[in-house]
Structure formats: structure tokens, C-alpha cells
Symmetry: none
Subunit: 156 residues, 2 copies
DNA sequence: CAAAATACCATGATATACCATATTCATATA
DNA sequence: TATATGAATATGGTATATCATGGTATTTTG
């Protein structure tokens, strides 16, 4: 039995005329093992779709309920936006989900969808936008290596 | 039951046309005992592949989830880079993993892969690049021996 | 009843799991 | 010290299973 459930890797799949895309097999495994569902919404900060398990959204909701003061008012507003936008996506027997027009348009996705793992979350990009975004981030990291320390210090 | 699981030693194995390499037996033992998986990604700072257990990445993901807000920009960028690039590698009954073209290219690996233990993590180098890197490190240590102290004290 | 959304089937490409052989390494023995 | 012996590991090859994707049937909904 696995202990960890992380969305990893970067995988490009085709989107057909109906908006159908294969959810990467690894991602499906996580959904099955946690007996949850995938939830997607428009990213608030980038031209991409953001996704996670419904389980994670439930946790977020619980956190807000239990300790309101822990979250700033701004964050509370943002969370509202996400919950309002989020939609549940279940995949069929062949492993595909059907993305909505609204989401595809926001992410400017036409032919291909690029799934990018983010640990507990993942994103879906158009090839062009992801290429730009990855370049931007790599450039940024080159200039400020200290950020990486977070990782290095994580030993025990 | 063992308490510490460190990736040690330097081992060279062949990479075949499909990118298959034997994971050093010692490394396999660690993976089995922790019932986890190996995760590899391109080093952000050197021409080599970096690897660790999925367990370690899981800790990182947990830290990110807890220590910062859901919407921090830096965290967002960093998680994209690390989790988006990282890929899970499970070994078959003979102990081999199949490295991807992307990773091999980044590390300039063709014939042989050099596994270098780094404690909680390890690296995979081409023979040429590792020779250079090792020489560089040894030279650096010669010039500033005090640094070594820091390292020695770090073990427990 | 028409249109759209959803579920199922078929196929080729790709990746994975397994078997067989060679090599290395450690131990024992002369 | 050199050599024999056996076990563990590494490596080459091949069969098998999985996955992505195009197409079609079936159900839902207005």
C-alpha cells in the first residue's frame, strides 16, 4: 500500500473536438486509491487550469471553518472564487475527462493539454503557455538560488 | 528495524538503448524497506539527474501545504519546477529503472550512469561530468579545509 | 423527438514485466 | 597468496500488459 499521493511529472495529451482528454494514468491511480474525484477551476493568477482532489478542497474548507483568523480576508475572498468556479470531473472507463469550454478558453488550449504536477495539485496548460511559464520560472530560480534551500533543509 | 537510510557510495552501471539501468542494490534495499518509490528530476544547478525517495518529496509537499498560504507566488513557482519535473521510477524484478530521454539528455549520459550517494538524496552523472565535478570539489576542499568541519559535524 | 452529453469498444504504439545469461564479488580453502 | 566456489548482481533479449486516442452506441435532457 502506498503512503504518498503526489501529482508529478509533465505529460502532454491530445484534446479532441469534444474537449476530451486522457487524465494521465498516474493521476487516475491517485484518484482511485483515495476514492475521491478530480476538481478543476480557472487559475486565479495564470492562463491555465488548476486541478486537485476533492479531498484537498474539503481540507481547505475545513481549515477556513475552524480557524477563520488564520486566513486573511483576502485569502478568504480568493477561496470563495475558487469554490465558485470549481467543477467536479469524473473520468470514463478509458480514463478521459471532458473539459469545459470555459476552462479551455481561459487556458487557451486547443490541440494539446499539458498536465504539470504540483504535488497536492496540478495544472493544465497549452503547450505554448507552458513553454513560456517554465522558461520564466527557471530564469527566476537561476537568479535567486536561496529559494531552493527549502528543499535542502528538509532532512530528517 | 534500521533507523537511517542513506544513499552512499559511487557506482557505475550501464545504460542500454532503451534507457534501462540497474538501480544499485543498496538503493533498492532502501526503497523496499521504506516501501516507497524512487523519484528523479533534473538538477537545477548541475548537469546531472537528482533522485530521492517519494517519501522525502511527500514531506516537502506537506511542509509547503502547512507553512505557507495557499496562494504564495514563490511557492507556486517552486512547486511547479520541482514536482512538475519529478517523475516516479519503479524498478522491475531484475532491479532496473528506465530513465527518460529528457533526464539522460540533461545529464549528458550515453553509455554509463554514475550513481553518487548524497545521504537522503543521490545523483546520477555521466562518467565525464562526474570526473570533472569530483575534481572540482576535491580542489575546492583543499583550498578551504574549514568547510569540511561543518560537514563532519553534521552527521549523527 | 432532436441535440447534447456520456459511456463503451477497438486499435496501435509504448512501456513494463519476465526469462536467460554473463559478470562481479565475497568467502572459503589449499 | 593464489585459486576455487557459490551467491548476488548486472545486462541482453523478448513476451506481455497498459495506455492514449479515434470511433460508435447509448443515455440524458430540454
Amino acid at each position: 500500500m502506498r503512503k504518498s499521493f503526489l501529482f508529478l511529472d509533465t505529460i502532454t495529451n491530445k484534446v479532441d473536438a469534444k474537449g476530451r482528454v486522457s487524465l494521465p494514468a498516474d493521476y487516475r491511480t491517485i484518484v482511485k486509491e483515495l476514492s475521491t474525484e478530480i476538481v478543476c477551476y480557472r487559475s486565479l493568477t495564470a492562463p491555465c487550469i488548476e486541478g486537485c482532489t476533492e479531498e484537498l478542497l474539503e481540507k481547505l474548507a475545513a481549515d477556513i471553518e475552524n480557524s477563520t483568523d488564520f486566513f486573511s480576508e483576502d485569502q478568504d475572498d480568493l477561496t470563495n472564487l475558487i469554490f465558485g468556479d470549481a467543477k467536479r470531473f469524473s473520468f470514463d472507463s478509458t480514463g478521459r475527462i471532458v473539459l469545459t469550454e470555459k476552462l479551455l478558453k481561459h487556458a487557451e488550449i486547443t490541440e494539446n493539454a499539458v498536465f504539470v504536477g504540483k504535488g497536492k495539485k496540478f495544472q493544465i496548460w497549452s503547450e505554448e503557455n507552458w513553454a513560456k511559464e517554465e522558461a520564466r520560472i527557471r530564469e527566476k530560480v537561476k537568479l535567486s538560488r536561496p529559494c531552493l534551500r527549502i528543499k535542502e533543509n528538509n532532512n530528517d
